[in-house]
Symmetry: C2
Subunit: 500 residues, 2 copies
Amino acid sequence: MTRAAEPGAARAFRAVDPTTGEALEPAFAVTTPGELRELGRRARAAFRRYARLPGHERAAFLRAVADGLDAAADELVARATRETALPEARLRGEVSRTSGQLRMFAGLIEDDAWLGARVDPGDPARQPAPKPDVRAVRRPLGPVAVFGASNFPFAFSVAGGDTAAALAAGCPVIAKAHPGHPGTSRLVADVVLAAAERTGMPAGVFALALDDGHAVGAALVQLPEVKAVAFTGSRAGGEALMRLAAARPEPVPVYAEMGSVNPVFVLPEAARRRGDAIAEDLHASFTLGVGQFCTNPGVVLLPTGAAGDALAARLAELTRAGQAGTMLNARVCELYQQGRERLRAAGAELLAEGAASAGPTAGTPTLWQAPLDAAMARPELLTEVFGPSTLLLRYARAEQLLAFADALEGQLTATLQAEAEELPAQAELVEALADRAGRLIVNQFPTGVEVGPAMVHGGPWPATSDGRGTSVGTLAIDRFTRWVAYQNFPRELLPPALRG
Amino acid sequence: MTRAAEPGAARAFRAVDPTTGEALEPAFAVTTPGELRELGRRARAAFRRYARLPGHERAAFLRAVADGLDAAADELVARATRETALPEARLRGEVSRTSGQLRMFAGLIEDDAWLGARVDPGDPARQPAPKPDVRAVRRPLGPVAVFGASNFPFAFSVAGGDTAAALAAGCPVIAKAHPGHPGTSRLVADVVLAAAERTGMPAGVFALALDDGHAVGAALVQLPEVKAVAFTGSRAGGEALMRLAAARPEPVPVYAEMGSVNPVFVLPEAARRRGDAIAEDLHASFTLGVGQFCTNPGVVLLPTGAAGDALAARLAELTRAGQAGTMLNARVCELYQQGRERLRAAGAELLAEGAASAGPTAGTPTLWQAPLDAAMARPELLTEVFGPSTLLLRYARAEQLLAFADALEGQLTATLQAEAEELPAQAELVEALADRAGRLIVNQFPTGVEVGPAMVHGGPWPATSDGRGTSVGTLAIDRFTRWVAYQNFPRELLPPALRG
């Protein structure tokens, strides 16, 4: 990281290779306050035109971004590998997922159905008063600030799901690059800007802001032109943005996805009949990508007794056979170590650890255990440890599960592993979990978020800042819209979707 | 108003007849902190069962409330007349509107279409990974706090639109009575409670909290069981609730409708050809109900020159012929006087006043005038004066209208009065207004909010705290729901709406 000597002057910073700890060329200039204000003005000016483009023209833009990402995949993946240490195959898949999301939203907005047009015809003869013709349609909010995530340099970053949803809705985007991968962010931004130019989008429809600290992000949220904020990251980061957005002269919505412990409830018969298979799938899920997923299963409810013991033993064996992986950056690694210490201090028993590694940002897979009652009394055991760690909470009686679920805070996901004959008795547990999670899963695992029309990647506080919506799937577009009604309008002045 | 002597002991208060200033029997006990906590616990317990009732059972409850209100209309209107001084005909209409809203929501939830169920079928053969079956549906948020409004003792109060929408969604309601009409609120609450009992709803599905100050409302918003807040009233009140809700350990959404000036743009040809008719309709609209409507047209853009002068003269004539009316209560009247002083101090010219009246809470119709440029420089001219007042802003050139619209803050409504041949040139103005208002109106007036499937009674900050939705019409129900996804669920464990 390099900083210019004079305070207030333009600064620059470099990404750090998490594998070696070395700074990577080139340097990236931190966006200045003046530049940021100009981005706000340009986004506002673009909105006027962009919001009114027919859906198929915005769709062409999104498809051009998708094509550009696919065409640049080699270069993007090479840079992202150096900046994040994520495996190449994973990053290639993530580029495909990102271009796929853009094409999904392009398909969605090809016609106007997503706008939800409502027509309530008038009736001049109605008594006691004539009924007016009233029509309503969704309308984009205005420019949106999108914060890139450390752990998804493509799918939840510069041209990721939030950007795709906002652009699809008709909102210009100012993306804030995550400081962990500025080079990847710059390359992606250049793809978006080239696609915008090629498809004739208004200047200012997209821009990238860069910073290795928090000042630019804070200023971005406070730009008067910004009408919504999207973020994926830590709870501390999300809460800071919420406070800033609420304190603006004009408060704006914040969609912050802040993670959770994603409890997995293993029922007794499932543990007995499929213990080994569950152990293997769980191990794969909690160590996937060095555990750096918001949907990482961080807490597993497992019965006491022989079947649970056997499952735990198999999981311990797999964990010990695993290797430490390189985490995204030094900060993530430091927080992971702190999280492990927090579990230890709260009384969790260390069941197994993988082989350590000498890298500067190595994260070792870790398996913990505690009695379920302990977790009910020690909320530290139920706070997210971002990394390849999971905690087995051993329960003696099924009734404990419902009480545990009733006391849970908001989660992105909750999972049941259960045999068919065990499921009918879980209706109450499912209800309790539906109140506390955005997505409920039976006999699959929470990692791997399907991108589609029914996905909900969200959940009540503190999983997100706004549990009403989702940041993945087509429903994500609704977050960037508001309803507007038109009363007694002549056809030619109505938005096209309301002329029918 | 009567208070018990001992601090901390139960207090009681009485409503005040605004016509006479006299206290009305009986006294109402202020809800104690302990009672309020108990209401929260009961609402939470009710939610567990109520949320799961089939829509048609909740619909039967809403219809029973509607029938109960209609049956009690004489008693309700008699009490409300004494507490609010609103005319009997208006209050009778408002009871009908309120029961109509309840029946509208009952009809909406008779079948499950409103839940927006989405089914994305799985594909085990998909490469590179199998596709899971994912389904999504709306789910109620949990108990909702509803604050009654002073100016609508029925339609925006205890069993008003917010309550109807929340109950329809499956959320128990704790209603906070407006201190101006506790007797009406109590009567309405008793109708709701009787209907809940008659239709077998769980205890705690509805409750009323009372206070003549702010403490009970503040505590209500902070109850951990409350998951959303709905409010119609002043900006100060709405902002206070927003701050409280954001500072909770678990922040919750606040839907506060805080009013606006509802600009009316009179275009030159309309002024020339229909000046008298527009003046008459405007006069009726801004003095309706002693001007005590959120949608009151508080600002009218009128051309300079002969046609505008003639319209202004006719409006002045009508205003002078009008009488002061009794306002809702002493506080509303005091704020109205302060609003008039604010306009005067900001340089508005007093064009005409109605006849004064000797009552303790009389509000005199008032017509003001200022050059449009003055309003652009003096934001005090564009803040709401709640009462029978409107301000003519005279413009010389049509281009001024667009600049004015671009500088407007968020509004509930914006209205164009224009001849057919003037409208095509207003596309830019309509776009600018669509960014700033929840409802756009052509050649009608903003008062009289149609209750239906396409109504939007909302708008960007500061018209509301959350410009994405509406507090009137069927779309209002969505505010009390969140999306939940079910992945790989067996049919029998899915919510009924997702089993198809």
